[in-house]
C-alpha cells in the first residue's frame, strides 16, 4: 500500500465510521421508540443534534484539561477506527492488531475522566468513578475473550483473522468455532456500550447524567460524536472477531447493525444495576463463560 493510499484510508475510515455510527444512534433511538410504542425521532435527528451543539454560541470550557479530555475521548475512538479493518480498507490493522485496539479503546474513558475531573462538579466525579469501575468490570471478560480468539486464530492481526474466517465460509466463523466466547463477548458488549442494566454511571435520576453534567455546546457535541464511534467500534470489533468480518459493505453493514441491535433491545426493558451488582454480575457470568470457552479452545 502506498503512503498516499494509506493517508486517504486513514482519513476515510473515521469518516465512514462516523456516518455509520450516526445510523446506529438513529437505530438506537428508533428501537427505543418502538418498544415504548411511539414514533421516534426523524431520520436526520442525530446529525441535527450534533450540528446544533457545535453551533451554540456559548461554549463553556472549564480549562485546558477539560478540552484535552474531550479530544482524548473522541481521538481515542478515531484511532480505534483506523485499526479496525472494514471491507476495502484495512488502514493500520496490519500494524496494530487486536491487543493495541483493546488498549486504544480504554483511552476515551480515561480522557473523559480527565475532562470531567476538571469540571469540579461532584455529580460528574461520582459518575466518572462509577464509569471507571464499570470499565474494570467489563474489561476482564473482554480481555479473556480477546485472548481466546487470538489463540484460536493464531494471530492478533485483525486483517488475518478476517481472512482466516472468510476462507472457511460461515462454518469457520468465530461464533461457530467458539460459541461460549462469543456469548461472553456479547455480555461484556453491553457493558462497553454502557446501556441498561449497566448504565449506572449515567443515571440521570441520581447524579444528573454523571460525566455529562458540565458538558455543553461543542463538548457535548464531542460526546455525541464519541457515541457514534463507540457503537460502530463495538459492532465492527464483534463482527470481525466472531462473524467473519465483511467482504462487501452489503453483507458487512447488516452484520454490524444486528450486533449492536441486541444490546439496544435489552437496554429498554431493564432498569440499571447498582455498581457493585454490575461488578458482581460481570465478573461472575461472562468471566465464567469466557473461562469455560477458553478451556474448550485450549484443550
Amino acid at each position: 500500500m502506498s503512503p498516499g493510499e494509506l493517508i486517504i484510508e486513514l482519513f476515510l475510515m473515521p469518516l465512514v465510521a462516523f456516518v455509520v455510527g450516526l445510523g446506529m444512534v438513529l437505530m438506537y433511538r428508533r428501537i427505543g421508540a418502538r418498544i415504548q410504542r411511539r414514533v421516534g425521532p426523524p431520520f436526520f435527528q442525530p446529525i441535527y443534534d450534533i450540528i446544533k451543539l457545535y453551533g451554540k454560541h456559548t461554549q463553556i470550557s472549564h480549562g485546558l484539561i477539560h478540552e484535552i479530555g474531550i479530544i482524548m475521548a473522541v481521538g481515542g475512538y478515531v484511532a480505534a477506527e483506523t485499526l479496525l479493518p472494514v471491507p476495502g480498507m484495512s488502514g493500520l490493522a496490519d500494524k496494530g492488531g487486536v491487543v493495541t485496539l483493546a488498549y486504544v479503546m480504554m483511552i476515551p474513558s480515561l480522557g473523559l475522566a480527565l475532562g470531567v475531573g476538571q469540571c469540579a462538579n461532584p455529580n460528574g466525579s461520582i459518575g466518572i468513578s462509577r464509569a471507571l469501575t464499570a470499565m474494570l468490570a467489563y474489561d476482564i471478560p473482554f480481555i479473556l475473550v480477546i485472548f481466546g480468539a487470538a489463540y484460536v486464530y493464531g494471530t492478533t492481526n485483525l486483517a488475518d483473522i478476517i481472512a482466516i474466517q472468510q476462507q472457511q465460509g460461515p462454518g469457520g466463523w468465530g461464533i461457530v468455532q467458539m460459541p461460549l466466547l462469543a456469548l461472553a463477548a456479547l455480555l461484556s458488549l453491553q457493558g462497553i456500550m454502557g446501556k441498561q442494566p449497566f448504565e449506572i454511571y449515567i443515571a440521570p435520576a441520581e447524579i444528573a447524567t454523571g460525566p455529562m453534567v458540565e458538558m455543553s455546546g461543542k463538548f457535548m457535541g464531542g460526546l455525541f460524536v464519541m457515541q457514534c464511534f463507540q457503537l460502530y467500534t463495538v459492532g465492527v470489533l464483534y463482527t470481525t472477531l466472531f462473524l467473519g468480518g465483511g467482504e462487501y459493505w452489503l453483507t458487512f453493514l447488516p452484520k454490524i447493525f444486528s450486533v449492536v441491535a441486541i444490546p439496544m433491545m435489552i437496554a429498554f426493558v431493564f432498569p440499571r444495576y447498582r455498581t457493585e451488582d454490575v461488578i458482581r454480575l460481570l465478573w461472575k457470568w461472562p468471566v465464567l463463560i469466557a473461562l469455560t470457552g477458553l478451556a474448550v479452545v485450549l484443550r
Partner: protein, 380 residues
C-alpha cells in the same frame, strides 16, 4: 468562554461531602429539594427543603368565596386532584348540613377511583424512570392519558375537573360514558400482565428495590405514615373502609397489604390497588344506571352563600394517603380558615429524611418516588 461557576476550593481531606438534590434535578418529583451528606455512596443525613411550590393556598382561600375555592383546591395536588375537590366539598356539606343525593355520591366514587388509577400509573411509572427503565414510564403515562380522556368526557377538563361542588356534581354522566369506561377498564386489565412482566416481576428491578427505604410498622405508625406506604408495612388501614365517606361502605373491595415496608412493597401495593380500583369502578358502572335522581341538592345562591358557623374535619383516602381538610366558618361568605393536611407533608419531609439515612446515593430518588411524595401538598 470561561464558566461562571465557582473555583474549586481546597478542602481538608475528608470522606464526607454534601450533594444538592434538586430543585432542578430529574430524581426529584416535582419542584422540591433536599441536601444529602454523603460518605462515599452512603447517605449520612438528608435535609428536605420545600416551599418552591408555595402559593399560600390557605391564605388565598380566606379571601375568596366558598364556591370560588372549588377552582383552587385541585391545584394543591396536581397528579391526583379529585380527592381535593371531594374532600373540600364534603367539609362544606357537613358545615351547611347538605344532603348529597345518592347518585352524586356514586359519581364521586367513580371519579375518585379514576383519579386513583391515573395517579398510581403515574407513580410507578415515575419510580421506574428513576431506576433507568423509561419504558414503564412511557407506557404508564400513555395509559393514564386514556383515563384523562374519560375525565375530559365526563367533566370537560383533562387534569383539573372542578366537577364536584358542594351539594353534588356539576353535570350528568354523558350517554354511553359507562360503556366506554367499561371498555377502558378491560383494556387496562389486559395491560396489567404486561406491566408485571416488564416491571413488577423484573428481576433487576426487584434486586434494586428490595430493602430500599425499608421501615417497620412501628416506625411507620410513629412517623405518621398513611396510605399505600402504611399498607406496605402490613397494616390494613384505609380511610375508605375504616372511616367511610360517600358510598364506600356499600362497595366490595379489599385492602391489599405487603409485609416488606420497602420500595418494592410499596410498588406492589400500588399494583394491587390498581386491580381494586378497577373492581370498584366495575361495581359503580353496574350500579349507577339503577340509581336515579338528581345529581345535586339545591344550594343557596353561591355568590351570597353564608355557610353556617362551625368547623368540620373531613378525611378522604387519596392515592398518596390520608387527606384531610379542616374548615372553620364564622357564618360569612368566605371561609375563616381552611387547613389542608396533605399526606405528603409527612412522607416528603420527616419520613424521607429518616429513610434516606443509611441508604445509598442511587436509592435516594427511588425512596422519594416510592413514597409517592407530592411536593405541592407539602408547600400548599
Amino acid at each position: 468562554m470561561r464558566p461562571e461557576n465557582y473555583q474549586a476550593k481546597n478542602h481538608p481531606p475528608s470522606h464526607e461531602f454534601e450533594l444538592n438534590f434538586g430543585p432542578n434535578h430529574p430524581g426529584i418529583e416535582g419542584n422540591y429539594a433536599f441536601k444529602v451528606k454523603l460518605n462515599g455512596d452512603t447517605v449520612l443525613s438528608a435535609r428536605a427543603d420545600g416551599g418552591y411550590l408555595h402559593r399560600g393556598f390557605e391564605k388565598l382561600m380566606e379571601g375568596r368565596l366558598w364556591i370560588q375555592n372549588i377552582a383552587l383546591v385541585p391545584r394543591i395536588c396536581v397528579p391526583d386532584p379529585v380527592p381535593m375537590e371531594v374532600c373540600y366539598s364534603l367539609a362544606i356539606e357537613e358545615l351547611g348540613g347538605l344532603e348529597v343525593p345518592e347518585r352524586a355520591q356514586w359519581i364521586r366514587v367513580m371519579q375518585l377511583e379514576m383519579s386513583r388509577l391515573a395517579a398510581h400509573l403515574f407513580a410507578f411509572g415515575g419510580h421506574a424512570a428513576t431506576t433507568g427503565m423509561y419504558t414503564t414510564m412511557f407506557w404508564g403515562v400513555a395509559d393514564r392519558d386514556l383515563i384523562l380522556d374519560r375525565f375530559e368526557e365526563l367533566t370537560g377538563g383533562r387534569v383539573y375537573s372542578i366537577y364536584n361542588i358542594p351539594g353534588g356534581v356539576r353535570r350528568e354522566v354523558p350517554d354511553g360514558f359507562l360503556e366506554r369506561m367499561s371498555s377502558l377498564l378491560d383494556y387496562l386489565e389486559s395491560r396489567l400482565p404486561d406491566y408485571d412482566n416488564l416491571f413488577f416481576r423484573n428481576q433487576v428491578f426487584i434486586k434494586r428495590a428490595r430493602d430500599v427505604g425499608a421501615m417497620t410498622q412501628e416506625q411507620a405508625l410513629k412517623w405518621g405514615v398513611t396510605g399505600p406506604n402504611l399498607r406496605a408495612t402490613g397494616l390494613a388501614f384505609d380511610v375508605r373502609r375504616d372511616d367511610p365517606y360517600l358510598v364506600y361502605d356499600q362497595l366490595d373491595f379489599e385492602i391489599p397489604t405487603e409485609p416488606g415496608g420497602d420500595a418494592l412493597s410499596r410498588n406492589l401495593v400500588r399494583r394491587s390497588e390498581l386491580k381494586q380500583s378497577i373492581r370498584i369502578l366495575r361495581q359503580v358502572i353496574e350500579r349507577l344506571p339503577s340509581i336515579r335522581g338528581p345529581i345535586r341538592c339545591p344550594i343557596p345562591n353561591p355568590l351570597a352563600w353564608n355557610v353556617p358557623a362551625g368547623e368540620s374535619y373531613t378525611r378522604v383516602e387519596s392515592s398518596k394517603g390520608e387527606l384531610a381538610y379542616y374548615v372553620v366558618s364564622t357564618g360569612g361568605d368566605k371561609p375563616y380558615r381552611v387547613h389542608v393536611r396533605g399526606p405528603s407533608s409527612m412522607h416528603a419531609v420527616q419520613v424521607l429524611e429518616n429513610l434516606a439515612v443509611g441508604s445509598r446515593l442511587e436509592d435516594v430518588a427511588q425512596i422519594m418516588f416510592s413514597l409517592d411524595a407530592c411536593p405541592p401538598e407539602v408547600d400548599r
